[in-house]
Symmetry: C2
Subunit: 220 residues, 2 copies
């Protein structure tokens, strides 16, 4: 971290003397800025963190930083975009689990685990409130949510067709509710509040069973 100042034009993370192309270096610098900005936003909030604070965190002058991002708003949007994408990728793994109840438990637990690590819950809380008044961020969140929701709708829909589960309400009500439940558990960072993962899993499974109502024929 400290030796970055020594030679500012040297490759940033030198791995066995590998030289970086111009565009590679540019991308690496941009990533460095985003990582530092995330730290600042978690610490001070989107509005509360100043460009100077971010500059200090990256170890870069304002002039240099503005070569990579045209505005603070652009950094905020890039961070939200990246965070939401990370989340969507996490959920995608679920689809491989044949048992739909276990699939949802797996997905929720991965989500909660992810939020618990690296201050992601704090960032997510910030994104949620920002999305309520920043149209660009709102669009990003909406797009992500719809994407994840459609994915799960197909996953759960197939289980219904196979007759494995029999939910008391339609998918259009079931899915937003399921997601908001997982959302709440992740946002509150229950592991940080002393609730162990195992108990969380037991409870979430109980909830999912209650909502999906697995049929006798669906049981393994």
């Amino acid at each position: 971290m400290d030796d970055l100042v020594e030679n500012i034009y040297a490759p940033i993370e030198v791995g066995e003397g590998v030289a970086l192309t111009r565009t590679e270096r540019r991308e690496q610098q941009a990533r460095r800025i985003l990582a530092a900005a995330k730290v600042c936003f978690v610490r001070s909030g989107f509005k509360g963190a100043s460009m100077q604070e971010i500059c200090a965190e990256v170890g870069m002058s304002p002039g240099a930083l503005y070569r990579y991002f045209p505005s603070k708003e652009a950094i905020v949007e890039a961070i939200c975009e990246a965070d939401r994408r990370e989340d969507a990728v996490l959920f995608a793994r679920v689809l491989q689990e044949p048992d739909v109840v276990e699939g949802l438990v797996l997905g929720a637990m991965a989500h909660i685990r992810h939020m618990h690590e690296d201050d992601n819950a704090k960032l997510f809380a910030e994104i949620c409130s920002e999305a309520m008044r920043n149209p660009a961020v709102e669009t990003t969140c909406m797009k992500n949510m719809v994407e994840v929701q459609q994915m799960f709708a197909a996953y759960i829909g197939k289980a219904i067709e196979r007759g494995e589960i029999d939910p008391p309400v339609g998918l259009d009500a079931l899915l937003p509710t399921l997601m908001s439940v997982a959302h709440g558990m992740a946002l509150n960072d229950l592991p940080a509040m002393g609730v162990p993962y195992e108990k969380l899993e037991i409870l979430f499974r109980a909830m999912v069973v209650g909502m999906l109502r697995p049929t006798a024929s669906g049981r393994v």
Copy 2:
């Protein structure tokens, strides 16, 4: 709203020519400021809303406003305090319901309904992210949460003693989880997303039944 400017010393909301005492007037002005500040904070966020914006919303000069609150921070804290208290009062009603499952359903639905109205969900999202870095707000939220949680712990604990329910985990894990679930459903403002109250209620009841496991003897 407009005629407030005509005579600045007249009672603010004149009801049948009733004159207000000094302190009554002061309290009324303070409430007026808080109401206007809430509108601004929902619109622009705690950091995003300026004192000028709040002044314009109340129809008051900065000098006057600072007679009622010593700082912007004080207004933020007062708003958070009031919102959390409102929430706690709402939950308190639940305790009168003898059936514990119905009590929790009632509480959660009231909570969700309350959040859906008056932009309370937006304010709550703001409070959540503020609580993560503002110690004063964090304390307010914590105190409120502990209070509500203890109330519910006693309520559910008694039902366990009576043998009406048999949850798979202890109260220390059950309560935070239950609360974060209701929290998530309220924060996401599911009614605004097109999920009707009735279906929400069906799903929440199914979840609670799954988590509390009512016994045969407890059934009505």
